[in-house]
């Protein structure tokens, strides 16, 4: 059976066919408000293919057990699958060692783990650098870290196109800089940031770099060794996996320096009331029973996407982006926020005089799921002086016909609201 799947995927690889791919996603068959669902909120969460759902069902049907501790067969089977998933993730992101992959509940957890770890490393007067286009999850944990340590936060500004101004970033770097954090791709604008340049420049002054890969991972296969990044974070649910699971990649030397984030079972070597010694990597950072099924399904999601091929996915999504950009810009009064040449399939827009909430409410009535609001990136909205945007984000299972429905819906909403 597995062999047959591989064969089918191999065939699809040469002929990328969204009609065939859509059949993998049961949810795409449903209706919303009497209309076929058009799902364009992929940057918030992606949909789940049957191949991943099957893995989840199989786990709970056949080998649900707690891992790492049991000597019984089920526990051993679950442990094997979970650790196999870790290796799949390691290979996908090309980490040098599998223990550099820490399972977390997602990007937010990953960032908090690192921010917490730096509490004992930083001192007053140290500086951290953040980009102007971060998700709140890559701002607030660092602000809390600054409050704990007396370190200060500097911001890399962005231009009207929604691109970071690198000259200003280079000016901000100094021997006081201890950490730089930035997203690989902006969730609100879709901009792909020049992370390699950012990382190399930070390393020259001895600063560590965390790249939030939550929005990049569904579109770009990052190579953490090539990037030479210190920390890279990903959420499985944005790349066809389940919610509540993700990963933190950390260079071994950094993970050895950072203290554990949470105490509990699983993360210890030996416990007495006098002193506890911690387990080796990766378990030092994985206290408590993890999301075992989620971790295994995360691995299955990577298998699924790799079988289709990230180059094929990126090429097709770019086609959707170009088509949607052209069609939407033809609507009078529509402005797109985030107009970098280098962006993923995300379009943030507003119609002059229309509140994004109103637009989103009407599009929902038409069966079209988009995101509206500030996308947890209020500093970006403040930059453009708007309350929020309507964000349509496309995935490889979307089609041009769906974009036509969106364009028609936006026209209709505009006519109703203005």
């Amino acid at each position: 059976m597995g062999f047959v799947w591989v064969l089918i995927f191999k065939m699809e690889k040469t002929t990328f066919n969204p009609t065939v791919i859509r059949k993998d996603f049961p949810i795409l068959n449903r209706e919303v408000n009497g209309k076929p669902l058009v799902y364009f909120d992929n940057a918030a969460t992606s949909q789940t293919p049957r191949q991943v759902i099957d893995v989840i069902v199989d786990y709970y049907s056949n080998y649900n057990a707690n891992i790492h501790r049991g000597v019984h067969t089920l526990s051993q089977e679950a442990t094997d699958k979970y650790e196999q998933a870790r290796i799949k993730i390691q290979k996908h992101f090309n980490a040098a060692k599998s223990h550099e992959i820490i399972f977390t509940s997602g990007t937010t957890h990953s960032i908090n783990l690192v921010a917490n770890g730096f509490t004992s490393i930083l001192k007053a007067g140290d500086e951290l650098i953040v980009s102007a286009m971060e998700h709140h999850s890559n701002i607030v944990p660092w602000q809390m870290l600054c409050e704990r340590t007396g370190a200060t936060l500097k911001v890399i500004p962005m231009n009207e196109e929604g691109e970071l101004i690198l000259e200003e970033y280079l000016e901000l770097l100094s021997d006081k800089t201890k950490l730089v954090f930035c997203n690989h791709v902006s969730n609100a604008l879709g901009t792909v940031n020049p992370v390699k340049t950012i990382i190399d420049a930070a390393h020259k002054v001895g600063a560590a770099v965390l790249i939030d890969g939550a929005q990049a991972a569904p579109h770009i296969k990052a190579d953490v060794q090539e990037l030479n990044v210190d920390f890279y974070t990903v959420s499985a649910h944005k790349m066809c996996g389940p919610t509540g699971v993700g990963m933190l990649y950390g260079k071994e030397e950094w993970l050895n320096i950072l203290p554990p984030y949470q105490g509990g079972g699983e993360m210890i070597a030996e416990v007495t009331f006098e002193k506890t010694t911690y387990a080796d990597l990766p378990h030092k950072f994985e206290a408590g029973t993890p999301n075992i099924c989620g971790g295994i399904a995360f691995g299955a999601a990577l298998d699924y996407m790799n079988a289709i091929g990230f180059d094929e996915i990126a090429a097709y999504e770019n086609e959707l982006l170009e088509y949607a950009t052209e069609r939407l810009l033809a609507i009078e009064g529509l402005r797109i926020y985030g107009t970098s040449e280098n962006k993923t399939s995300v379009i943030s827009f507003n119609i002059e005089g229309v509140h994004p909430y109103d637009m989103g409410s009407i599009l929902d009535k038409l069966g079209i799921a988009v995101r509206t609001g500030h996308h947890c990136a209020q500093p970006i909205m403040d930059f453009y002086k708007i309350p929020g945007t309507v964000r349509a984000s496309f995935s490889f299972y979307n089609t041009k016909e769906e974009i036509d429905i969106l364009v028609e819906g936006v026209e209709k909403a505009k006519a109703m609201l203005l």
Binding site: Y357, G360, G373, P387, M416
Partner: protein, 140 residues
């Protein structure tokens, strides 16, 4: 007219509409046409922050009745505010405290008053009731 009667009247009006589009068009009309709040009351103190749209509420006592004015930066939200104001304004505080908003479901706009909807309206209804409780105490 009491709150219950006004709500029945609104349900009657909405029963004429055949589909969601007509209901929304009416809401948008309401939202556009009503001068809801004096600009001087659109202060930060009176703002109710939803995740997506801003809502302002102001309350003052007129005799033994409570008068509300409110506004929002989103037009559909504003339309629902117009309906809520029509229901709750110029009523006795105790009646406002006792009233429910189930009629919103009957006129097919339930989603906007869902506690999980990030538009500030649920907090607004809560705020109207808080004002009513505060002024009721004052009247006692």
């Amino acid at each position: 007219m009491g709150i219950k009667e006004i709500q029945e009247e609104i349900v009657d009006e909405f029963s004429m509409f055949e589909d969601w589009m007509q209901r929304y068009e009416y809401m948008i009309e309401l939202g556009k046409s009503l001068p809801l709040i004096d600009e001087k009351y659109k202060t930060d103190d009176n703002i109710i922050k939803g995740c997506q749209s801003k809502v302002w509420v102001h309350a003052e006592l007129d005799g033994d009745k409570l008068v509300f004015t409110a506004d929002s930066d989103a037009i559909i939200t504003k339309g629902i505010i117009a309906i809520l104001i029509r229901t709750f304004s110029n009523q006795k505080p105790q009646d406002i405290i006792d009233a429910d908003t189930d009629f919103i479901d009957e006129i097919g706009l339930k989603e906007h008053l869902s506690p999980t909807r990030a538009n500030g309206l649920v907090s607004m209804v809560k705020q109207l009731k808080m004002y009513a409780i505060a002024y009721q105490t004052q009247l006692n």
